[in-house]
Subunit: 369 residues, 2 copies
């Protein structure tokens, strides 16, 4: 098969990685299930993403559906944020909302040429823009949508890899047999649906919370490609104990490291971080909900073997758990509400996940594996 | 001023040509007159155009208007044309029409990475797609729109130049003082509005036709950047004689060279070409209107000194005239109707343009210059 795929890709240009075509086909046929007559909005950030976008559009066209590519280069976003007069920044851009409204499917591809393009940007302007874009996000969520990443040097650099290494990393996590991945995640979901108490034990960590009555959701890679986690929402007042997140957490592309949180009756009562602690403080202080847990997830994607400071991958590393402070997912039966939803990741090698006192995962290995 | 412009551009990236910023400002402030609150659709073809698109968006944003970039790579267009099932190719893509409808302004930038990407494409499929896209073009024409080109290697290659030469060529034709260009074109318009008979004399050429009662229009570079021609519509039955077009004429990116046309009472009665004569034959045979003249124009842009096989520039070469067969412009009072409008260009060095028997231009120089 590989030879045939190479031949197919080679017909489209000698330098085309055949995995780009496989990635495109997954996005169109699996993630968003594009059908004849669909209008498909393909959104990319920087120009490197065009090679994937074109292959997505080729697949969309072959199904008798209608694609359009909207490009939001990082420099474009930066220019908008810094050049638009403040009053106008608060205005929802009609054209962007209407393009989304006219679509049935949205395929969003991050392909940044620079992942730190907002590092020095005024956060007030970013908040104003974000609020103005709310109708756009609401439209987006009404569609059959998916989000993914196309390997660029910038994303590779952020993850501390060469581009060729990073391509291996991305495609080994993305180009999986998602049906068997779902089968592999099923026992964990079943367990989580049944139990009441979760206890996490590891380096500087002993935290307990309840997930009683909540629903565990399998991330089957339809909304995010790659997928590979099972997640739910902790009961609001239940978290007690301390946790140390050994992997970096990134919020709006700002990195917070070595986060420690202590909970009492669901509330964060103590916190620290070795880098950007002030951002952690600010986010926890956002509202009532941001002082509580909104998500508990377990990573299961064996193609993801290390942190690359990108939540799309990090939260799915096999052998990690993550907790989010803030807003909980309704589909999990979650009740916590917040303007914030921020994931923090912890390896459980060494460590243990206990559910109702029974060891479910030890040092990264599920008890049934 | 140049230093300041360089400094401004340098702030945006060491390799940014400051003329890109000037080009962007012309498109936004002069050609389309973008105002606060406008929704501005910026369309480009291949990725090289993104640097101009981003500068356009920066300028648009600074005015409190709202930009969106739609990218149609040449490979995207090719993929759509060849991969879409025939029945679906005839369907108007809703999302594309709606994005256009939601805009107030459209700025279209050609930035092809390959100008011959449709050379081997089935013309029947192209015609079906073109028909399906009619509602899009109709929406486009309702907007404040402009079309321009961003210098790429492909366009340079098509014109037989290096990229740096071609950049000089493009910017010397685009970055002009358009107010004084209009002043320079005014005497020609006044003359054309007044006279009845035009006679073109040159190599293998002696052709006469009437423009009596027609209106001459100055191309002030608002719809096409660069501009620089004065054009009108010949009276339908008036053309008599023979003309030889020494510059190549391109239709749907196919080149026809050394076209000779002979007219009697407005109708083409004989024709020949040294390359792609069959295409010439096919186009003349399209309908009744395609056998007659639809346009007579005189190029006046002194920044354009040679043919680059791109009609956007070729028809404006100072010292050339062009005639189009087919559809005439209503704003000129033209009455000829056709599905075709195809421009053919001729140098008038050596040669002469006579109007009502008086020499208006000889060997490329206007009588009043």
């Amino acid at each position: 098969m590989r030879d045939q795929k190479f031949a197919e890709a080679t017909n489209r240009g000698l330098d085309m990685d055949p995995r780009i075509v496989e990635h495109a086909k997954l996005l169109v046929n699996y993630c968003t299930n594009v059908k004849r007559g669909d209008n498909v909005l393909v959104e990319i950030t920087d120009e490197d993403g065009l090679e994937l976008a074109v292959e997505v559009c080729r697949e969309v066209a072959s199904l008798g559906a209608h694609p359009m590519i909207v490009t939001c280069p990082t420099e474009f976003t930066r220019a908008l944020l810094e050049s638009t007069p403040l009053g106008d920044l608060a205005v929802t851009p009609r054209i962007v909302v209407e393009a989304m409204r006219a679509s049935d499917v949205d395929i969003f591809v991050r392909s940044d040429s620079n992942t730190r393009f907002l590092e020095t940007m005024d956060s007030k302007r970013m908040a104003i823009r974000s609020k103005a874009m709310k109708p756009y996000r609401e439209e987006f969520l009404k569609k059959r949508w998916t989000a993914t990443i196309h390997p660029t040097n910038a994303h590779a650099q952020e993850g501390g890899m060469s581009l060729s290494e990073y391509r291996e990393f991305v495609y080994s996590s993305v180009l999986r047999d998602w049906k068997s991945e779902i089968t592999r995640m099923k026992p964990l979901k079943d367990k989580m649906d049944k139990v009441s108490e979760v206890r996490l034990i590891g380096t500087d960590t002993d935290l307990s919370f309840s997930i009683k009555g909540r629903i565990a959701v399998i991330d089957d890679a339809k909304l995010n490609l790659p997928g590979g986690e099972v997640f739910t929402a902790p009961v609001d007042d239940s978290a007690t104990g301390t946790i140390f997140f050994d992997l970096p957490s990134v919020y709006s592309r700002k990195e917070v490291t070595d986060i420690r949180l202590t909970f009492e009756k669901g509330l964060i009562v103590d916190y620290s971080a070795s880098k950007n602690e002030s951002l952690l403080k600010e986010l926890i202080a956002t509202d009532e909900g941001s002082k509580r847990l909104g998500e508990f997830g377990v990573g299961t994607n064996k193609g993801i073997t290390r942190s690359t400071k990108n939540i799309l991958f990090d939260e799915k590393i096999a052998g990690t758990i993550h907790l989010a402070i803030g807003d909980a997912y309704k589909e999990c039966g979650g009740t916590n509400k917040s303007a914030v939803h921020w994931d923090m990741i912890k390896t459980v090698k060494p460590g243990q996940i206990l559910m109702d006192g029974e060891s479910v995962q030890k040092d990264g290995k599920f008890s049934w594996e």
